[in-house]
């Protein structure tokens, strides 16, 4: 089975029924998507599939063989962070940080589709994702900041 992850095709030997989360973490050694519940209730495993936010913990790999999977690692790196990663660092939007990659991917999906999403829409979009440490205020600020950074980047692109 071949999977397209962050723009690269990978040959996966795991059972096709394996949830995508384990393929990402165990086969591809990607750390960002996390196991939080395995039930689609907490969002720590959120990744993008063809630009849509998806719970990777309940998505069998076989379902998405011909789709584009994007994880946090695909958005940027420490050396070259994407706007959403920059925003979360600048806002110091994390306590334990375990839920944060899922939050970022959920926000990324929203802002890719709706760059002008307002604060209420951001809140509503993040509803499927849980944060137990109580970092929600910072997460909201960080997503707002990412929205601004993306807008500037877009404007920059156009000049």
């Amino acid at each position: 089975m071949k999977l397209n992850v962050n723009g690269q095709l990978h040959e996966i030997v795991s059972d096709p029924r394996t949830p995508l989360l384990y393929v990402l973490r165990d086969d591809l050694k990607l750390n960002a998507a996390k196991f939080g519940c395995g039930l689609g209730q907490c969002g720590a495993c959120t990744v993008l599939i063809d630009g849509e936010a998806v719970f990777s913990c309940i998505t069998p790999a076989a379902l998405i063989a011909d789709k584009k999977i994007t994880t946090l690692e695909g958005l940027g790196t420490l050396a070259q962070p994407s706007p959403i990663q920059r925003a979360f660092i600048e806002e110091q939007a994390a306590q334990c940080g375990y839920c944060i990659p899922g939050m970022m991917m959920r926000a990324q999906a929203l802002l890719q589709k709706k760059p002008q999403a307002n604060d209420d829409e951001i809140r509503a979009a993040l509803e499927p994702n849980l944060c137990r440490c109580g970092t929600q205020m910072r997460i909201l600020r960080a997503v707002g900041r990412a929205r601004a950074l993306m807008a500037t980047a877009q404007a920059g692109d156009r000049t």
Binding site: L39, F55, A62, E127
Partner: protein
């Protein structure tokens, strides 16, 4: 006089008459309305007896006033919710006791007239999106109680958006004609051939419950087909299953299972209430138990016509729903270990086994575990609409309440996969004919925004009694 001159005169007279007739008819239509009832100053909240208010709250819950008359994220009863109809969107109005924008200046008589005849205080006709064709059956006493309840809600200043109806449907007085054809005004009359419980149930269902508003098919003028009462209908993109002998439920509903479902939002042999029914089930929890039992008894009777006795298959299925609950859901996790698909050439089977069976064949009981799909009306029903709604959007977590949660697969699965899955489920879990229009159902399900109504009934009633004031363990009702 010459012939031409006579002819011309006759012609002129005819034209004038026709014009007059047209103008008159037009004027009549445009102006047709009932007399206005004088506005009043809103009665103070303490002018209503507490018992009356309590009764009114229960009746308003049964009538789901709050569901239609509250916008998503809006203030209770302040209107603004769009009700999709084949003719265009109609917006529910503000029924808080606000004087300027609500019903604060409506007298009790005006309210009763609205319920009984579908007429506004100012005499204009209401659209039957407001189901006055059902509410007309409500007794005067009950209407009084509902009036008291509504007049003691928090007043909110809010104006609903204008209805999106094309001409001439936006001319309210046309409803005069609709009412002539389809409204049978007047309170409910008991049927002497049935007992008090049945009649109570009938009164509640046919009146405030307005079950037929969703569960009965409608004609091209949007009226319920009275000869197909409770034969199944639709609501906001969901199929409302037949409640009569045409019920597609694999296990026949009876009075007990219906009562449990209505009271708690789920039944072990049928699954959880979701879509618009989730909101109905939420509201019904407020009803006293005798009323729930009466509704269940009446509907069970309607469902029971010409159905055979519970068959062996149904009995086994009912046992299935216990589903080896000895192995507790928390000793490992709450999903089943499913062996590799042997039907590897059947995509639907593979999808089911990898994405669904973990929960739907797992050790966790309904409502928090997935229903055994052999018991599901979504799979046995007349179309794949509800199945797709749930598979696409799941059942999102309810805020701060115990409620079943199911992830949606709309982003993970493409159309081919969803169609294959639906076909497989239909074939595997029912012995019914394949659905003829699966692709169309999916297209429609994907195109509408269903998220707002895909939630399940919050099962607060399943919360431990220690968080419920006073009561004992209500889960054992």
């Amino acid at each position: 006089m010459s012939v031409t001159r006579i002819a011309r005169s006759v012609g002129i007279i005819c034209v004038v008459l026709a014009l007059a007739l047209a103008v008159g008819l037009g004027a009549f239509l445009i102006a047709a309305r009932q007399p206005a009832i004088d506005p009043i100053t809103p009665p103070p909240a303490n002018s209503f007896a507490p018992d009356l208010l309590k009764r009114g709250a229960q009746l308003a819950a049964l009538g789901n006033c709050d569901v239609c008359h509250t916008a998503v994220g809006g203030r209770p009863f302040a209107g603004g919710r769009a009700l999709p109809t084949p003719f265009g969107a109609i917006y529910a109005t503000n029924i808080t006791p606000d004087v300027d924008t609500g019903i604060g200046n409506w007298s009790e008589a005006a309210f009763k007239r609205a319920m009984r005849h579908g007429v506004r205080r100012d005499g204009a006709y209401l659209y039957p999106a407001f189901p006055y064709d059902h509410f007309t059956r409500v007794s005067d006493d009950d209407a009084k109680a509902i009036y008291a309840y509504l007049m003691t809600r928090e007043p909110v200043r809010a104006v609903a958006p204008a209805n999106e109806l094309p001409f001439p449907l936006n001319v309210r007085s046309l409803m005069f004609g609709w009412d002539l054809l389809f409204l049978r005004p007047g309170p409910f009359r008991p049927d002497k051939n049935h007992d008090a419980t049945w009649n109570r149930g009938a009164y509640l269902v046919e009146g405030l419950g307005h079950c037929g508003a969703c569960h009965t098919p409608r004609n091209f003028l949007g009226a319920e087909k009275s000869d197909q009462d409770l034969s199944g209908g639709e609501s906001e993109g969901w199929t409302a299953y037949a409640l009569n002998a045409g019920s597609p439920a694999p296990v026949q509903w009876n009075a007990d299972t219906l009562a449990h479902y209505l009271a708690f939002g789920f039944d072990a042999s049928h699954g959880v209430a979701r879509g618009p029914m989730a909101e109905v089930a939420d509201d019904l929890h407020a009803l006293p138990e005798p009323d729930i039992r009466a509704i269940a008894a009446y509907l069970a009777d309607r469902a029971g016509h010409a159905r055979p006795a519970v068959s062996e298959i149904e009995r086994q299925r009912a046992v299935q729903m216990q589903r080896g609950k000895t192995g507790a859901a928390n000793s490992a996790d709450s999903q089943a270990s499913i062996g590799a698909a042997d039907a590897t050439h059947d995509d639907g089977a593979a999808i089911y086994l990898s994405a669904c069976a973990g929960c739907h064949e797992g050790p966790r009981a309904v409502p928090f575990g997935g229903i055994d799909l052999a018991l599901s009306s979504g799979v046995a029903g007349p179309n794949a609409t509800n199945l797709f709604n749930v598979v696409l959007h799941g059942l999102p977590a309810a805020d701060a309440t115990h409620a079943p949660v199911m992830p949606g697969f709309g982003a993970a699965m493409n159309d081919a996969q969803l169609v294959a899955l639906a076909r497989y489920l239909r074939a595997r879990f029912t012995d019914k004919e394949p659905w003829p229009d699966v692709e169309q159902s999916l297209r429609e399900a994907r195109s509408a925004t269903r998220a707002a109504t895909t939630r399940s009934a919050p099962s607060d009633r399943l919360m431990p009694p220690s968080t419920k004031p006073g009561a004992g363990n209500e889960a054992q009702r």
